[in-house]
Protein backbone atom coordinates (compact mmCIF):
# COMPACT_ATOMS: atom_id res chain seq x y z
CA UNK A 1 0.00 0.00 0.00
CA UNK A 2 2.77 2.39 0.93
CA UNK A 3 4.34 1.91 -2.50
CA UNK A 4 1.06 2.73 -4.22
CA UNK A 5 0.65 5.86 -2.11
CA UNK A 6 4.20 6.85 -2.96
CA UNK A 7 3.48 6.36 -6.66
CA UNK A 8 0.35 8.48 -6.51
CA UNK A 9 2.23 11.16 -4.61
CA UNK A 10 5.01 11.08 -7.17
CA UNK A 11 2.64 11.37 -10.12
CA UNK A 12 0.87 14.26 -8.45
CA UNK A 13 4.22 15.87 -7.82
CA UNK A 14 5.12 15.40 -11.48
CA UNK A 15 1.85 16.96 -12.55
CA UNK A 16 2.43 19.95 -10.31
CA UNK A 17 5.98 20.20 -11.52
CA UNK A 18 4.93 20.30 -15.15
CA UNK A 19 2.03 22.70 -14.85
CA UNK A 20 3.87 25.28 -12.73
CA UNK A 21 7.24 24.89 -14.36
CA UNK A 22 7.56 28.57 -15.31
CA UNK A 23 10.99 28.85 -13.78
CA UNK A 24 12.49 25.96 -15.73
CA UNK A 25 14.25 26.37 -19.06
CA UNK A 26 14.70 23.26 -21.20
CA UNK A 27 17.65 22.92 -23.54
CA UNK A 28 17.81 19.99 -25.98
CA UNK A 29 21.36 19.08 -26.98
CA UNK A 30 24.05 16.40 -26.95
CA UNK A 31 25.96 15.81 -23.69
CA UNK A 32 28.93 17.98 -22.74
CA UNK A 33 28.02 20.54 -25.37
CA UNK A 34 27.49 23.42 -22.98
CA UNK A 35 29.92 24.31 -20.20
CA UNK A 36 29.03 24.57 -16.52
CA UNK A 37 30.12 28.19 -16.39
CA UNK A 38 27.69 29.07 -19.19
CA UNK A 39 24.88 27.26 -17.38
CA UNK A 40 25.63 29.22 -14.19
CA UNK A 41 25.85 32.50 -16.11
CA UNK A 42 22.43 31.93 -17.70
CA UNK A 43 20.79 30.75 -14.47
CA UNK A 44 22.02 33.87 -12.66
CA UNK A 45 20.45 36.11 -15.31
CA UNK A 46 17.13 34.35 -15.83
CA UNK A 47 16.63 33.43 -12.19
CA UNK A 48 15.54 29.99 -13.38
CA UNK A 49 16.79 26.43 -13.57
CA UNK A 50 18.36 25.20 -16.81
CA UNK A 51 17.45 21.58 -17.54
CA UNK A 52 19.63 19.76 -20.03
CA UNK A 53 17.80 17.18 -22.15
CA UNK A 54 19.90 14.95 -24.34
CA UNK A 55 19.77 13.33 -27.76
CA UNK A 56 22.60 11.40 -29.39
CA UNK A 57 21.87 11.83 -33.08
CA UNK A 58 20.45 14.91 -34.86
CA UNK A 59 18.22 12.73 -37.01
CA UNK A 60 16.67 11.10 -33.92
CA UNK A 61 16.06 14.55 -32.49
CA UNK A 62 14.52 15.70 -35.75
CA UNK A 63 12.26 12.61 -35.83
CA UNK A 64 11.07 13.25 -32.31
CA UNK A 65 10.36 16.95 -32.75
CA UNK A 66 8.68 16.46 -36.11
CA UNK A 67 6.39 13.85 -34.55
CA UNK A 68 5.23 16.59 -32.23
CA UNK A 69 7.23 16.31 -29.01
CA UNK A 70 7.09 19.63 -27.16
CA UNK A 71 8.45 21.33 -24.08
CA UNK A 72 11.89 22.29 -25.35
CA UNK A 73 12.81 25.97 -25.28
CA UNK A 74 16.01 25.94 -27.32
CA UNK A 75 17.57 23.14 -29.40
CA UNK A 76 21.20 22.89 -30.51
CA UNK A 77 21.03 20.95 -33.77
CA UNK A 78 23.02 20.31 -36.93
CA UNK A 79 22.30 22.36 -40.05
CA UNK A 80 20.39 19.90 -42.19
CA UNK A 81 18.31 18.66 -39.24
CA UNK A 82 17.13 22.13 -38.26
CA UNK A 83 16.52 23.00 -41.91
CA UNK A 84 14.03 20.11 -42.11
CA UNK A 85 12.38 21.16 -38.86
CA UNK A 86 11.94 24.72 -40.11
CA UNK A 87 10.36 23.52 -43.35
CA UNK A 88 7.91 21.48 -41.27
CA UNK A 89 6.96 24.60 -39.32
CA UNK A 90 8.39 23.35 -36.03
CA UNK A 91 10.71 26.31 -35.45
CA UNK A 92 10.04 29.94 -34.58
CA UNK A 93 11.37 32.76 -36.71
CA UNK A 94 13.92 34.78 -34.77
CA UNK A 95 13.93 38.52 -34.21
CA UNK A 96 17.66 39.23 -34.34
CA UNK A 97 17.20 42.58 -32.55
CA UNK A 98 16.79 40.50 -29.38
CA UNK A 99 20.19 38.82 -29.86
CA UNK A 100 22.68 41.72 -29.94
CA UNK A 101 25.63 39.35 -29.38
CA UNK A 102 25.14 37.99 -32.89
CA UNK A 103 27.72 40.68 -33.79
CA UNK A 104 30.36 38.41 -32.16
CA UNK A 105 29.85 35.73 -34.80
CA UNK A 106 32.30 35.56 -37.68
CA UNK A 107 30.46 36.83 -40.75
CA UNK A 108 31.55 33.78 -42.78
CA UNK A 109 29.33 31.58 -40.63
CA UNK A 110 26.23 33.74 -40.74
CA UNK A 111 24.03 33.60 -43.82
CA UNK A 112 24.39 29.86 -44.42
CA UNK A 113 22.79 28.61 -47.62
CA UNK A 114 20.01 26.86 -45.70
CA UNK A 115 19.17 30.07 -43.82
CA UNK A 116 20.54 33.11 -45.70
CA UNK A 117 19.05 35.70 -43.32
CA UNK A 118 19.50 33.71 -40.11
CA UNK A 119 15.77 33.91 -39.80
CA UNK A 120 15.57 30.77 -37.65
CA UNK A 121 19.09 29.59 -36.78
CA UNK A 122 22.17 31.07 -35.09
CA UNK A 123 25.56 29.31 -35.51
CA UNK A 124 26.81 27.80 -32.22
CA UNK A 125 29.85 25.65 -32.96
CA UNK A 126 31.20 23.56 -35.81
CA UNK A 127 33.48 20.62 -36.48
CA UNK A 128 35.42 20.22 -39.73
CA UNK A 129 35.49 16.72 -41.23
CA UNK A 130 38.94 15.73 -42.50
CA UNK A 131 41.48 12.90 -42.38
CA UNK A 132 43.37 12.00 -39.22
CA UNK A 133 46.31 9.66 -39.68
CA UNK A 134 49.11 7.72 -38.13
CA UNK A 135 52.00 9.89 -39.33
CA UNK A 136 54.71 7.35 -38.52
CA UNK A 137 53.09 4.62 -40.63
CA UNK A 138 52.07 6.85 -43.53
CA UNK A 139 55.54 8.45 -43.68
CA UNK A 140 56.96 4.96 -44.14
CA UNK A 141 54.59 4.44 -47.08
CA UNK A 142 55.36 7.92 -48.43
CA UNK A 143 51.72 8.97 -48.35
CA UNK A 144 50.65 12.51 -47.51
CA UNK A 145 46.87 12.40 -46.97
CA UNK A 146 46.21 16.02 -47.98
CA UNK A 147 43.83 14.86 -50.70
CA UNK A 148 40.66 12.75 -50.66
CA UNK A 149 42.37 10.58 -53.30
CA UNK A 150 44.02 8.60 -50.48
CA UNK A 151 40.70 7.00 -49.52
CA UNK A 152 39.47 6.54 -53.12
CA UNK A 153 42.44 5.76 -55.44
CA UNK A 154 43.78 2.24 -55.82
CA UNK A 155 47.42 3.21 -55.64
CA UNK A 156 46.92 4.47 -52.08
CA UNK A 157 44.24 2.01 -51.02
CA UNK A 158 46.32 -1.06 -51.89
CA UNK A 159 49.01 0.02 -49.44
CA UNK A 160 46.55 0.56 -46.60
CA UNK A 161 44.00 -2.20 -47.04
CA UNK A 162 41.97 -2.66 -43.84
CA UNK A 163 43.65 0.30 -42.15
CA UNK A 164 41.11 2.98 -43.13
CA UNK A 165 37.81 4.00 -41.52
CA UNK A 166 35.22 6.42 -42.85
CA UNK A 167 32.15 7.80 -41.08
CA UNK A 168 28.99 5.77 -40.80
CA UNK A 169 27.20 8.70 -42.43
CA UNK A 170 26.10 8.78 -46.05
CA UNK A 171 26.26 12.56 -46.21
CA UNK A 172 29.91 12.73 -45.15
CA UNK A 173 31.14 9.86 -47.34
CA UNK A 174 29.22 11.06 -50.41
CA UNK A 175 30.51 14.61 -49.83
CA UNK A 176 34.10 13.33 -49.71
CA UNK A 177 33.59 11.38 -52.94
CA UNK A 178 31.96 14.36 -54.67
CA UNK A 179 34.74 16.69 -53.56
CA UNK A 180 37.31 14.21 -54.90
CA UNK A 181 35.42 14.15 -58.21
CA UNK A 182 35.49 17.94 -58.30
CA UNK A 183 31.70 18.26 -57.91
CA UNK A 184 29.49 20.19 -55.53
CA UNK A 185 29.53 18.16 -52.26
CA UNK A 186 25.82 18.87 -51.78
CA UNK A 187 24.97 17.87 -55.35
CA UNK A 188 21.61 16.20 -55.83
CA UNK A 189 22.32 15.68 -59.54
CA UNK A 190 21.64 12.00 -60.31
CA UNK A 191 24.72 11.66 -62.56
CA UNK A 192 27.02 13.04 -59.88
CA UNK A 193 25.48 10.82 -57.23
CA UNK A 194 25.89 7.77 -59.45
CA UNK A 195 29.58 8.54 -60.01
CA UNK A 196 30.02 8.96 -56.26
CA UNK A 197 28.24 5.68 -55.57
CA UNK A 198 30.50 3.77 -57.98
CA UNK A 199 33.60 5.35 -56.47
CA UNK A 200 32.52 4.51 -52.91
CA UNK A 201 31.49 0.95 -53.82
CA UNK A 202 34.88 0.32 -55.37
CA UNK A 203 36.90 1.88 -52.56
CA UNK A 204 34.85 0.31 -49.77
CA UNK A 205 36.44 -3.10 -50.26
CA UNK A 206 39.70 -1.60 -48.97
CA UNK A 207 38.13 0.15 -45.98
CA UNK A 208 38.08 -1.46 -42.58
CA UNK A 209 34.66 -0.26 -41.43
CA UNK A 210 32.16 2.59 -41.14
CA UNK A 211 32.76 4.31 -37.84
CA UNK A 212 31.94 7.79 -36.56
CA UNK A 213 32.22 7.20 -32.83
CA UNK A 214 35.16 4.96 -31.91
CA UNK A 215 37.63 5.49 -34.77
CA UNK A 216 39.91 7.69 -32.67
CA UNK A 217 40.36 4.84 -30.21
CA UNK A 218 41.54 2.64 -33.09
CA UNK A 219 43.92 5.42 -34.18
CA UNK A 220 45.35 5.55 -30.67
CA UNK A 221 45.73 1.80 -30.41
CA UNK A 222 47.49 1.68 -33.80
CA UNK A 223 44.97 -0.61 -35.53
CA UNK A 224 43.84 2.11 -37.95
CA UNK A 225 46.20 4.37 -39.89
CA UNK A 226 43.80 6.71 -41.66
CA UNK A 227 40.38 7.83 -40.43
CA UNK A 228 37.74 10.30 -41.45
CA UNK A 229 37.66 12.45 -38.34
CA UNK A 230 35.94 15.27 -36.46
CA UNK A 231 38.13 18.07 -35.15
CA UNK A 232 36.97 17.81 -31.54
CA UNK A 233 37.66 14.05 -31.46
CA UNK A 234 41.16 14.48 -32.85
CA UNK A 235 41.84 17.43 -30.52
CA UNK A 236 40.93 15.32 -27.48
CA UNK A 237 42.84 12.32 -28.84
CA UNK A 238 45.99 14.40 -29.24
CA UNK A 239 45.62 15.86 -25.73
CA UNK A 240 45.38 12.31 -24.46
CA UNK A 241 48.20 10.86 -26.53
CA UNK A 242 50.64 13.39 -25.00
CA UNK A 243 50.21 11.65 -21.66
CA UNK A 244 50.15 8.14 -23.10
CA UNK A 245 53.60 8.39 -24.78
CA UNK A 246 52.67 6.63 -27.99
CA UNK A 247 55.30 4.84 -30.10
CA UNK A 248 53.92 6.68 -33.15
CA UNK A 249 52.63 10.13 -34.04
CA UNK A 250 49.01 11.03 -34.86
CA UNK A 251 48.22 14.07 -36.98
CA UNK A 252 45.39 15.63 -38.93
CA UNK A 253 45.25 17.40 -42.26
CA UNK A 254 42.66 19.18 -44.39
CA UNK A 255 42.16 17.94 -47.97
CA UNK A 256 43.04 20.22 -50.87
CA UNK A 257 39.75 19.50 -52.68
CA UNK A 258 37.90 21.00 -49.72
CA UNK A 259 36.27 19.87 -46.48
CA UNK A 260 32.82 19.73 -45.01
CA UNK A 261 31.94 21.24 -41.67
CA UNK A 262 29.09 20.13 -39.47
CA UNK A 263 27.61 23.34 -38.16
CA UNK A 264 25.46 23.21 -35.04
CA UNK A 265 22.87 25.92 -34.62
CA UNK A 266 20.73 27.41 -31.90
CA UNK A 267 17.06 27.23 -32.84
CA UNK A 268 13.85 27.95 -30.98
CA UNK A 269 11.03 25.43 -31.44
CA UNK A 270 7.46 26.72 -31.66
CA UNK A 271 6.76 25.05 -28.29
CA UNK A 272 8.97 27.59 -26.46
CA UNK A 273 7.26 28.78 -23.27
CA UNK A 274 8.91 32.17 -23.01
CA UNK A 275 10.47 33.67 -26.13
CA UNK A 276 12.32 36.34 -24.14
CA UNK A 277 14.08 33.66 -22.08
CA UNK A 278 14.98 31.88 -25.32
CA UNK A 279 16.56 35.06 -26.68
CA UNK A 280 18.34 35.64 -23.37
CA UNK A 281 19.78 32.12 -23.56
CA UNK A 282 21.00 32.57 -27.13
CA UNK A 283 22.52 35.92 -26.26
CA UNK A 284 24.26 34.43 -23.21
CA UNK A 285 25.96 31.55 -25.03
CA UNK A 286 27.21 33.98 -27.69
CA UNK A 287 29.12 36.04 -25.08
CA UNK A 288 32.87 35.94 -25.63
CA UNK A 289 33.77 34.25 -22.33
CA UNK A 290 31.12 31.53 -22.67
CA UNK A 291 32.09 30.77 -26.26
CA UNK A 292 35.74 30.63 -25.17
CA UNK A 293 35.03 28.11 -22.41
CA UNK A 294 33.14 25.95 -24.92
CA UNK A 295 36.13 25.94 -27.27
CA UNK A 296 38.58 25.14 -24.48
CA UNK A 297 36.59 22.34 -22.86
CA UNK A 298 35.23 20.54 -25.90
CA UNK A 299 37.76 21.21 -28.66
CA UNK A 300 34.88 22.19 -30.95
CA UNK A 301 35.53 25.07 -33.34
CA UNK A 302 33.76 28.26 -32.32
CA UNK A 303 32.63 30.78 -34.95
CA UNK A 304 32.93 33.58 -32.40
CA UNK A 305 35.39 36.45 -32.97
CA UNK A 306 35.80 37.24 -29.26
CA UNK A 307 36.45 33.57 -28.48
CA UNK A 308 39.00 33.20 -31.26
CA UNK A 309 40.85 36.24 -29.88
CA UNK A 310 40.91 34.75 -26.38
CA UNK A 311 41.67 31.12 -27.16
CA UNK A 312 45.35 30.07 -27.09
CA UNK A 313 47.06 30.17 -30.49
CA UNK A 314 47.97 26.50 -30.00
CA UNK A 315 44.31 25.89 -30.83
CA UNK A 316 43.39 28.70 -33.19
CA UNK A 317 46.48 28.18 -35.38
CA UNK A 318 45.57 24.54 -36.07
CA UNK A 319 44.25 24.43 -39.61
CA UNK A 320 41.90 21.51 -39.09
CA UNK A 321 40.20 23.20 -36.11
CA UNK A 322 40.06 26.73 -37.54
CA UNK A 323 40.46 26.43 -41.33
CA UNK A 324 42.17 29.47 -42.91
CA UNK A 325 40.82 29.15 -46.42
CA UNK A 326 37.06 29.36 -46.02
CA UNK A 327 36.63 29.09 -49.82
CA UNK A 328 37.30 25.37 -49.47
CA UNK A 329 34.90 24.81 -46.57
CA UNK A 330 31.34 23.67 -47.20
CA UNK A 331 28.29 23.19 -45.01
CA UNK A 332 25.61 20.57 -45.56
CA UNK A 333 22.30 21.40 -47.20
CA UNK A 334 19.33 19.05 -46.75
CA UNK A 335 18.60 16.81 -49.75
CA UNK A 336 15.18 16.97 -51.43
CA UNK A 337 13.05 14.08 -50.04
CA UNK A 338 13.36 11.89 -53.17
CA UNK A 339 17.14 12.20 -53.27
CA UNK A 340 17.36 11.50 -49.57
CA UNK A 341 15.48 8.21 -49.98
CA UNK A 342 17.63 7.28 -52.98
CA UNK A 343 20.91 7.99 -51.20
CA UNK A 344 19.73 6.16 -48.07
CA UNK A 345 18.93 3.07 -50.14
CA UNK A 346 22.23 3.22 -52.01
CA UNK A 347 24.09 3.64 -48.76
CA UNK A 348 22.47 0.55 -47.28
CA UNK A 349 23.48 -1.40 -50.39
CA UNK A 350 27.06 -0.14 -50.23
CA UNK A 351 27.34 -1.15 -46.60
CA UNK A 352 25.90 -4.61 -47.31
CA UNK A 353 28.42 -5.14 -50.09
CA UNK A 354 31.28 -4.23 -47.82
CA UNK A 355 30.05 -6.68 -45.25
CA UNK A 356 30.00 -9.52 -47.75
CA UNK A 357 33.45 -8.58 -49.01
CA UNK A 358 34.72 -8.25 -45.46
CA UNK A 359 33.47 -11.68 -44.49
CA UNK A 360 35.06 -13.29 -47.54
CA UNK A 361 38.33 -11.63 -46.57
Amino acid sequence: MRIIKFCIAYFLFLGVNLSYAVDVFNLYTTSNYITDSTVRDFEAQCNCKLFLNYFSDPQEMSAKISAGATGYDVIIGTGYAVEDLYKMGKLNSLDLANIPNIKNIESGFLHQKFDPNNSFSIPYAYTPVFLAYNKTQLDKLGIIPNTWAVIFEDKYLKKMKGKITVFDSQRNVYAAALLYLGKDPNSSNLKDLDLARKLITHASQYWSRYDSTTYYRSLLSGGIWLAMSYSNDLYNTLQDSKKAKLPFEIAGVLQREGNMIELDNLVMPTSVKNKQLGYLFMNTVLKGKNATSLGLETGASIPNLLAIAQLPTSITQVDWIYPKNMQKIFGFIAYPPKIRILVNEEWTEIKMECHQACYIK
Binding site: S31, Y54, A69, R217, N232, D233
Partner: protein, 257 residues
Protein backbone atom coordinates in the same frame (compact mmCIF):
# COMPACT_ATOMS: atom_id res chain seq x y z
CA UNK B 1 36.55 -42.28 -11.70
CA UNK B 2 34.46 -41.55 -14.77
CA UNK B 3 32.13 -39.29 -12.79
CA UNK B 4 35.10 -37.39 -11.40
CA UNK B 5 36.42 -36.70 -14.90
CA UNK B 6 33.10 -35.28 -16.04
CA UNK B 7 32.64 -33.12 -12.97
CA UNK B 8 36.14 -31.69 -13.48
CA UNK B 9 35.21 -30.76 -17.03
CA UNK B 10 32.01 -29.16 -15.77
CA UNK B 11 33.95 -27.25 -13.13
CA UNK B 12 36.37 -26.00 -15.76
CA UNK B 13 33.62 -24.86 -18.10
CA UNK B 14 31.88 -23.25 -15.13
CA UNK B 15 35.01 -21.26 -14.37
CA UNK B 16 35.30 -20.26 -18.03
CA UNK B 17 31.71 -19.02 -18.05
CA UNK B 18 32.39 -16.89 -14.98
CA UNK B 19 35.56 -15.48 -16.53
CA UNK B 20 33.64 -14.70 -19.68
CA UNK B 21 31.02 -12.86 -17.65
CA UNK B 22 33.29 -11.01 -15.27
CA UNK B 23 36.45 -10.06 -17.20
CA UNK B 24 34.69 -7.23 -19.09
CA UNK B 25 33.24 -5.91 -15.83
CA UNK B 26 36.65 -6.11 -14.18
CA UNK B 27 38.24 -4.18 -17.04
CA UNK B 28 35.48 -1.59 -16.85
CA UNK B 29 36.22 -1.09 -13.15
CA UNK B 30 40.00 -0.91 -13.66
CA UNK B 31 39.62 1.65 -16.44
CA UNK B 32 37.46 3.90 -14.26
CA UNK B 33 40.76 4.80 -12.54
CA UNK B 34 42.53 5.60 -15.82
CA UNK B 35 43.93 9.12 -16.14
CA UNK B 36 42.88 9.45 -19.77
CA UNK B 37 39.90 11.10 -21.41
CA UNK B 38 39.78 8.80 -24.43
CA UNK B 39 40.45 5.74 -22.27
CA UNK B 40 42.45 3.57 -24.68
CA UNK B 41 45.39 1.90 -22.98
CA UNK B 42 46.54 2.53 -19.43
CA UNK B 43 47.92 6.01 -18.80
CA UNK B 44 48.01 6.50 -15.03
CA UNK B 45 46.05 6.03 -11.82
CA UNK B 46 43.57 8.70 -10.75
CA UNK B 47 40.41 9.23 -8.71
CA UNK B 48 39.59 12.21 -10.95
CA UNK B 49 36.61 10.60 -12.70
CA UNK B 50 34.92 9.83 -9.40
CA UNK B 51 35.13 13.46 -8.32
CA UNK B 52 33.87 14.51 -11.77
CA UNK B 53 30.99 12.07 -11.32
CA UNK B 54 30.04 13.28 -7.85
CA UNK B 55 29.96 16.87 -9.11
CA UNK B 56 27.90 15.94 -12.16
CA UNK B 57 24.42 16.37 -10.74
CA UNK B 58 22.88 15.84 -14.20
CA UNK B 59 24.29 12.32 -14.52
CA UNK B 60 23.44 11.40 -10.93
CA UNK B 61 19.88 12.68 -11.39
CA UNK B 62 19.65 10.65 -14.60
CA UNK B 63 20.82 7.51 -12.78
CA UNK B 64 18.36 7.99 -9.92
CA UNK B 65 15.61 8.67 -12.42
CA UNK B 66 16.47 5.42 -14.24
CA UNK B 67 16.33 3.38 -11.03
CA UNK B 68 13.05 4.99 -10.01
CA UNK B 69 11.45 4.29 -13.41
CA UNK B 70 12.76 0.72 -13.46
CA UNK B 71 11.44 0.00 -9.95
CA UNK B 72 7.95 1.34 -10.63
CA UNK B 73 7.65 -0.07 -14.15
CA UNK B 74 8.89 -3.56 -13.23
CA UNK B 75 6.72 -3.73 -10.09
CA UNK B 76 3.55 -2.71 -11.91
CA UNK B 77 4.27 -5.02 -14.82
CA UNK B 78 5.01 -7.93 -12.50
CA UNK B 79 1.54 -7.63 -10.94
CA UNK B 80 -0.26 -7.25 -14.27
CA UNK B 81 1.97 -9.82 -16.00
CA UNK B 82 1.41 -12.46 -13.34
CA UNK B 83 -2.37 -12.05 -13.60
CA UNK B 84 -2.15 -12.20 -17.40
CA UNK B 85 0.10 -15.26 -17.28
CA UNK B 86 -2.27 -17.12 -14.96
CA UNK B 87 -5.28 -16.14 -17.07
CA UNK B 88 -3.60 -17.22 -20.30
CA UNK B 89 -2.84 -20.59 -18.75
CA UNK B 90 -6.39 -21.05 -17.51
CA UNK B 91 -8.26 -19.85 -20.61
CA UNK B 92 -6.26 -21.14 -23.53
CA UNK B 93 -6.95 -18.61 -26.28
CA UNK B 94 -4.27 -19.01 -28.97
CA UNK B 95 -4.75 -15.50 -30.45
CA UNK B 96 -4.05 -13.84 -27.11
CA UNK B 97 -0.95 -15.97 -26.45
CA UNK B 98 0.34 -14.94 -29.87
CA UNK B 99 -0.40 -11.26 -29.26
CA UNK B 100 1.65 -11.34 -26.05
CA UNK B 101 4.72 -12.22 -28.11
CA UNK B 102 4.43 -9.23 -30.47
CA UNK B 103 5.90 -6.53 -28.19
CA UNK B 104 8.87 -8.87 -27.59
CA UNK B 105 9.43 -9.48 -31.29
CA UNK B 106 8.59 -6.02 -32.69
CA UNK B 107 11.53 -3.73 -33.44
CA UNK B 108 12.09 -1.28 -30.58
CA UNK B 109 12.13 1.68 -32.95
CA UNK B 110 8.62 0.81 -34.12
CA UNK B 111 7.34 0.45 -30.57
CA UNK B 112 9.02 3.72 -29.56
CA UNK B 113 7.63 5.80 -32.40
CA UNK B 114 4.14 4.33 -32.12
CA UNK B 115 4.07 4.99 -28.37
CA UNK B 116 5.20 8.57 -29.02
CA UNK B 117 2.44 9.06 -31.59
CA UNK B 118 -0.06 7.47 -29.20
CA UNK B 119 0.89 9.76 -26.30
CA UNK B 120 0.68 12.80 -28.57
CA UNK B 121 -2.70 11.64 -29.89
CA UNK B 122 -4.26 11.38 -26.44
CA UNK B 123 -2.51 14.64 -25.45
CA UNK B 124 -0.51 13.01 -22.66
CA UNK B 125 2.37 15.20 -21.49
CA UNK B 126 5.68 13.46 -22.17
CA UNK B 127 7.75 13.01 -19.03
CA UNK B 128 8.65 10.45 -16.39
CA UNK B 129 5.08 9.12 -16.32
CA UNK B 130 5.02 8.48 -20.08
CA UNK B 131 8.35 6.60 -19.84
CA UNK B 132 6.93 4.44 -17.05
CA UNK B 133 3.82 3.59 -19.07
CA UNK B 134 5.93 2.79 -22.13
CA UNK B 135 8.21 0.54 -20.09
CA UNK B 136 5.24 -1.26 -18.56
CA UNK B 137 3.93 -1.80 -22.08
CA UNK B 138 6.98 -3.76 -23.19
CA UNK B 139 8.00 -5.33 -19.84
CA UNK B 140 4.53 -6.79 -19.41
CA UNK B 141 5.07 -9.35 -22.17
CA UNK B 142 8.30 -10.62 -20.66
CA UNK B 143 6.70 -11.14 -17.25
CA UNK B 144 3.64 -12.79 -18.79
CA UNK B 145 5.76 -15.21 -20.79
CA UNK B 146 7.94 -16.04 -17.81
CA UNK B 147 4.91 -16.71 -15.57
CA UNK B 148 3.05 -18.65 -18.28
CA UNK B 149 6.03 -20.95 -18.82
CA UNK B 150 6.25 -21.59 -15.10
CA UNK B 151 2.51 -22.40 -15.01
CA UNK B 152 3.02 -25.05 -17.70
CA UNK B 153 5.38 -26.92 -15.39
CA UNK B 154 2.93 -26.75 -12.51
CA UNK B 155 0.63 -29.56 -11.47
CA UNK B 156 -2.91 -28.11 -11.84
CA UNK B 157 -4.29 -30.61 -9.35
CA UNK B 158 -2.53 -28.66 -6.57
CA UNK B 159 -5.20 -25.95 -6.82
CA UNK B 160 -7.98 -28.55 -6.90
CA UNK B 161 -6.48 -30.21 -3.82
CA UNK B 162 -6.36 -26.89 -1.98
CA UNK B 163 -9.97 -26.17 -2.89
CA UNK B 164 -11.02 -29.69 -1.80
CA UNK B 165 -9.35 -29.09 1.53
CA UNK B 166 -11.47 -25.99 2.05
CA UNK B 167 -9.36 -23.10 0.76
CA UNK B 168 -11.27 -20.17 -0.71
CA UNK B 169 -10.32 -19.22 -4.32
CA UNK B 170 -8.36 -16.21 -2.98
CA UNK B 171 -6.59 -18.39 -0.43
CA UNK B 172 -5.74 -21.00 -3.04
CA UNK B 173 -4.33 -18.27 -5.28
CA UNK B 174 -2.14 -16.63 -2.66
CA UNK B 175 -1.18 -19.66 -0.56
CA UNK B 176 -0.71 -22.31 -3.29
CA UNK B 177 -0.46 -20.79 -6.75
CA UNK B 178 1.77 -17.79 -6.01
CA UNK B 179 4.36 -19.70 -3.92
CA UNK B 180 4.57 -22.39 -6.63
CA UNK B 181 5.20 -19.97 -9.48
CA UNK B 182 7.26 -17.52 -7.39
CA UNK B 183 10.54 -18.29 -9.19
CA UNK B 184 8.83 -17.40 -12.49
CA UNK B 185 7.49 -14.17 -11.02
CA UNK B 186 10.89 -13.18 -9.60
CA UNK B 187 12.61 -14.01 -12.88
CA UNK B 188 10.03 -11.90 -14.71
CA UNK B 189 10.50 -9.02 -12.30
CA UNK B 190 14.29 -9.11 -12.65
CA UNK B 191 14.03 -9.25 -16.42
CA UNK B 192 11.58 -6.33 -16.46
CA UNK B 193 13.82 -4.34 -14.11
CA UNK B 194 16.96 -4.78 -16.23
CA UNK B 195 15.12 -4.18 -19.51
CA UNK B 196 13.63 -0.99 -18.17
CA UNK B 197 16.92 0.15 -16.65
CA UNK B 198 18.91 -0.05 -19.85
CA UNK B 199 16.32 0.64 -22.53
CA UNK B 200 17.38 3.42 -24.87
CA UNK B 201 15.26 3.52 -28.03
CA UNK B 202 11.77 3.42 -26.53
CA UNK B 203 12.82 5.73 -23.70
CA UNK B 204 14.26 8.25 -26.14
CA UNK B 205 10.98 8.61 -27.97
CA UNK B 206 8.74 8.70 -24.91
CA UNK B 207 10.93 10.93 -22.71
CA UNK B 208 9.75 14.47 -22.18
CA UNK B 209 11.58 17.49 -20.85
CA UNK B 210 13.43 17.01 -17.58
CA UNK B 211 13.16 13.21 -17.58
CA UNK B 212 16.59 12.11 -18.80
CA UNK B 213 17.55 8.55 -17.91
CA UNK B 214 21.06 7.12 -17.59
CA UNK B 215 21.12 5.42 -21.02
CA UNK B 216 19.94 8.67 -22.66
CA UNK B 217 22.68 10.62 -20.88
CA UNK B 218 25.39 8.11 -21.82
CA UNK B 219 24.41 7.69 -25.48
CA UNK B 220 24.27 11.43 -25.94
CA UNK B 221 27.94 11.63 -24.90
CA UNK B 222 28.95 9.84 -28.12
CA UNK B 223 29.34 13.09 -30.03
CA UNK B 224 31.69 14.72 -27.55
CA UNK B 225 33.34 11.46 -26.47
CA UNK B 226 32.46 9.01 -23.69
CA UNK B 227 34.83 9.67 -20.78
CA UNK B 228 35.82 7.29 -17.93
CA UNK B 229 33.20 9.13 -15.89
CA UNK B 230 30.80 6.56 -17.34
CA UNK B 231 33.08 3.76 -16.13
CA UNK B 232 33.03 5.35 -12.68
CA UNK B 233 29.23 5.52 -12.71
CA UNK B 234 29.02 1.87 -13.88
CA UNK B 235 31.45 0.78 -11.14
CA UNK B 236 29.21 2.32 -8.51
CA UNK B 237 26.14 0.65 -10.02
CA UNK B 238 27.95 -2.73 -10.04
CA UNK B 239 28.96 -2.26 -6.39
CA UNK B 240 25.37 -1.38 -5.43
CA UNK B 241 24.08 -4.48 -7.24
CA UNK B 242 26.69 -6.59 -5.47
CA UNK B 243 25.69 -5.25 -2.05
CA UNK B 244 21.96 -5.70 -2.80
CA UNK B 245 22.41 -9.28 -4.06
CA UNK B 246 24.52 -10.31 -1.09
CA UNK B 247 22.00 -8.70 1.27
CA UNK B 248 19.12 -10.55 -0.34
CA UNK B 249 21.00 -13.89 -0.16
CA UNK B 250 21.34 -13.23 3.58
CA UNK B 251 17.69 -12.29 4.03
CA UNK B 252 16.08 -15.06 2.00
CA UNK B 253 18.64 -17.76 1.21
CA UNK B 254 16.04 -20.18 -0.16
CA UNK B 255 15.50 -17.90 -3.19
CA UNK B 256 19.02 -18.49 -4.45
CA UNK B 257 19.21 -22.26 -3.96
Amino acid sequence: MHVNKISKKILLSGILVYLFLYIPLLLLIVYSFNDSRINVGWVGFTFKWYSVLFNDTQLIDAALNSVFIALIASSISVVLGTLAGVALHKYKIPVLSGLVMIPVAAPELLVGVSLLLFFLLINFTLGTASIIFAHIAFCLSFVTISVKTRMHGMDDSLIDAARDLGASPTNAFFKVLIPTILPGIIAGWLMAFTLSLDDFVITFFTAGVGSTTLPLAIYSMLKMGVTPEVNAASTIIILCTLVLTSLSTKISPQLFK
